[in-house]
């Protein structure tokens, strides 16, 4: 498949870019932050996005979705990254939709996919249990109890966990943390007894949650996929999220770079634009190169997921590792090249730095995916 967007995908990109610029620019994130918004995103805006088909971007048409595939989903994520748009898009539209498509029973699909596509039901993926991401480090216990299960343990860094109606939880039904075998996924209503959901404001002004499970009881219907054999499905969900995040970060990097470029081409010192100094020119040219690489790689990873390619997992790890590094570099260079202005809250570049750090950490940072990649490559 050629490594370019199709005409349809290109159109999607243009409409997303236009919509987000008008409706959800960086100033919208500031407003959410400064007003201390409980939700951390605008429900009104999310409804509009749903109407445009974004909430159901991965949902099959029979459930009212747009079924645009991961490339389409990534295109929208990249545009959101440019504007630092805060929405439940990654959790609900990308990860939860992937989960239900891949693992959902007929009943589960019918119950949830239509609502996801309509933007009516919000999801969160509760997976990490400590500050560092780990695919198989699941310790939260799910014990059989009559016809159902009892969940005990704690999850952290659950993006959108504080607003979710439904939570997809990775749990251990057997084996030890670190083992693939013994992981089971559950679909848990956020109102279930025994759940304590605590909103955690993150440095990027988005919200996440810590969720304690204290004898939370679910029925056997809540199992998503197969008991003990959830690792593969989990990996699918995480990989969709990682690729979506890589696209978002590629967008953020490009935007942070663009802002920086305009700034240094305007800002005068020593009687000339500081952008005329060769050292800034070379670093800008380097950054441009890195960002181009990051965009191409991200597209390749997204395509590989749509194709179900054999090397998809490798490409996703690669893309997440690279995007994490490049978006951080773009933001760091951005702050530095803005001089004192870069340190002020008034300028937007600092917001990109904060998002780069949090998005980089979410679903595994560059060291994590670098280590995984080395393993996959056999060294």
């Amino acid at each position: 498949m050629p490594l370019v967007l199709t005409e349809d995908q290109e159109m999607l990109r243009e409409s997303a870019a236009g919509f987000l610029k008008d409706e959800a620019p960086v100033s919208a994130l500031r407003e959410l932050r400064d007003s201390g918004s409980e939700d951390g995103f605008s429900r009104e805006l999310w409804a509009k996005m749903a109407a445009m088909g974004w909430a159901g971007i991965l949902v099959p048409e029979e459930y009212g979705g747009a079924d645009f595939g991961m490339v389409g989903a990534g295109v929208v994520a990249e545009e959101m990254g440019k504007q630092l748009t805060a929405t439940p898009y990654l959790s609900s539209a990308i990860m939860a939709a992937t989960a239900l498509n891949a693992l959902g029973s007929q009943a589960q699909k019918e119950q949830h996919l239509t609502k996801i596509a309509a933007g009516e039901e919000l999801f969160a993926i509760a997976h990490d249990e400590r500050g560092k991401h780990s695919t198989l480090g699941v310790a939260l216990k799910a014990e059989r109890m009559g016809n159902g299960f009892r969940l005990n343990g704690a999850k952290t860094f659950v993006a959108d966990g504080h607003v979710a109606d439904q939570i997809i939880v990775s749990a251990r039904t057997s084996g030890e943390p670190g083992e693939a075998n013994g992981i089971t996924l559950f679909l848990v209503d956020s109102g279930t007894d025994g759940l304590k959901i605590e909103k955690t404001a993150m440095v990027d002004s988005r919200n996440a949650a810590r969720i304690d499970f204290n004898n939370a009881e679910v029925t056997a219907d809540a199992v998503l996929g197969e008991i003990d054999l959830g690792a593969d499905g989990l990996e699918k969900i995480l990989n969709a999220g990682r690729a979506g995040l890589a696209a978002e970060m590629a967008g953020s990097a490009a935007q942070a770079f663009g802002m920086t470029l305009s700034y240094i081409n305007e800002r005068k010192q020593f009687g000339v634009a500081v952008g005329s100094f060769q050292t800034l020119q070379h670093r800008s040219a380097h950054l441009y190169t890195e960002i181009e690489i990051c965009k191409a790689l991200t597209l390749k990873a997204l395509q590989s997921l749509d194709e179900g390619a054999e090397d998809a997992a490798k490409l996703v790890a690669l893309a997440k590792a690279k995007a994490t590094k490049v978006s951080l570099l773009a933001a760091q260079e951005g702050v530095q090249m803005h001089g004192g202005m870069g340190m002020t809250d008034e300028f937007d570049i600092g917001l990109y730095l904060k998002r780069a750090k949090v998005a980089g950490e979410l679903l595994g940072d560059s060291s994590y995916h670098g280590n995984r990649l080395a393993e996959m490559l056999g060294y």
């Binding site: 990490d128 955690t200 530095q336 950490e361 979410l362 670098g370």
Partner: protein
């Protein structure tokens, strides 16, 4: 017993008897510092006593001459004092731009009257200083500054604007660069003046930083009257003073941020957060590699810091070498804080009460300013290329 051994024994005993218990936690961060000055509210009786006692001995500025409120110690004695303070985890009694920046400049360029007037108050932490250098259009190109000082007989009338003035809203006095000759080439029409921030016509407006705090300000001067007695060195020769002061500022920043970090090493933190593999190695080989790369550069840089400080005689300016320290030290500090965030992962990115309100993340964000304040890294590299390596101009 040699004199120095004797001095060590006496110092140890004095510190033992006089350093309050709550000043022995070894804390050195910008936030736990005591900054002194007229507006300072001591956070504890211990903090007040510690400043008072050290200030009275001049040990806040151990190598300054005693007639200017200093300790009058030799470089060797000052080193002993530092070691003994470190041994009991004693905090610095106070921080003040008067110690690290204005003091050295006044000692070299100030009149006798100026030294007598200002230095003892710095030593005792009675007057807190701020630095009025940068302007909206004079950052890296500092010498193009435009704040003007007009001659009005026995005083100047200062009008203009500064920016990024750290703690201008909390400081008592400012050392300030002003233009006294707008016809002359830009470096030759600048003067270095001192004035009280309570003078009529001075106002400040805090600027919010990406870390959420507001340590620096826009500072406005609207016809501020500054007695000519407050001109340091000669009129239109302020650039010499300014540059000399900058070398001290840069050396201070480089040593402060580049020196070994206090407390637990990053490696220890990482092992605690992430764990080890069966070989006892950090259970994240890539992070481990990044950590040791940074450790190597830190330890190696420590040797340069030591060598430079041993070569420099007490108080003497390092000149362009200060740019080497400033550049490398601040870049290292940024790397360390990136790694610290990476070690803690999402736990350190929460801005919640149970996470000390995200202090680690705020510190991380603050370090981004290290390679900007006191002259950017790009400017330091340019100084090294031009003044040390004497490379040709473009």
């Amino acid at each position: 017993m040699s004199d120095l051994q004797q001095f060590r024994a006496e110092t140890r005993q004095w510190l033992e008897e006089n350093c309050p218990a709550d000043m022995r936690d070894g804390k050195l961060s910008e936030d736990t510092s005591c900054w002194g000055g007229r507006k300072w509210e001591f956070t504890s009786e211990g903090q007040r006593l510690w400043l008072e006692r050290m200030g009275a001995r001049g040990w806040t500025v151990p190598t300054w001459p005693s007639e200017y409120g200093g300790g009058g110690l030799s470089k060797e004695e000052a080193a002993v004092l530092k070691q003994e303070m470190k041994a009991i985890g004693a905090r610095k009694p106070h921080d003040n731009f008067g110690i690290t920046m204005l003091g050295p400049a006044l000692l070299k360029f100030g009149s006798e009257a100026q030294k007598k007037e200002h230095l003892p108050k710095v030593a005792r932490g009675e007057i807190r200083w701020c630095q009025g250098y940068s302007e909206p259009n004079a950052g890296s190109d500092l010498a193009s500054l435009r704040t003007k000082a007009e001659d009005a007989g026995d005083h100047y009338v200062v009008t203009g604007q500064k920016i990024w003035t750290s703690y201008a809203d909390k400081a008592d006095w400012i050392f300030c660069l002003v233009r006294t000759d707008s016809e002359a080439p830009k470096h030759k029409g600048i003067s270095f003046v001192l004035f009280d921030m309570e003078s009529e016509g001075v106002s400040t407006k805090p600027i919010k930083l990406i870390s959420g705090s507001s340590p620096f300000c826009e500072t406005f001067f609207d016809g501020v009257s500054v007695p000519k007695a407050n001109l340091v060195y000669e009129e239109n020769k302020g650039w010499d003073v300014a540059k000399y002061l900058l070398t001290h500022e840069r050396e201070m920043i480089g040593s402060l941020f580049g020196g070994m970090s206090e407390g637990r090493s990053l490696g220890e933190l990482a092992v605690k957060a992430i764990g080890t593999n069966p070989l006892g190695q950090l259970d994240d080989p890539l992070l481990r590699a990044k950590l040791i790369e940074t450790e190597i550069d830190s330890l190696a840089f420590g040797a340069l810091l030591q060598s430079v400080s041993d070569r420099a005689k007490g108080g003497e300016s390092l000149g362009a070498v200060s740019s080497v320290l400033k550049y490398y030290g601040t870049e290292l500090n940024k790397r360390r804080h990136e790694l610290k965030m990476e070690i803690g992962g999402s736990d350190e990115m929460e801005m919640t009460d149970n996470n000390n309100d995200g202090q680690a993340a705020r510190d991380w964000l603050r370090t981004k300013g290290n390679s900007i304040e006191g002259g950017t890294s790009e400017v330091q590299l340019q100084i090294i290329a031009k003044h040390i390596l004497q490379m040709p101009n473009a």
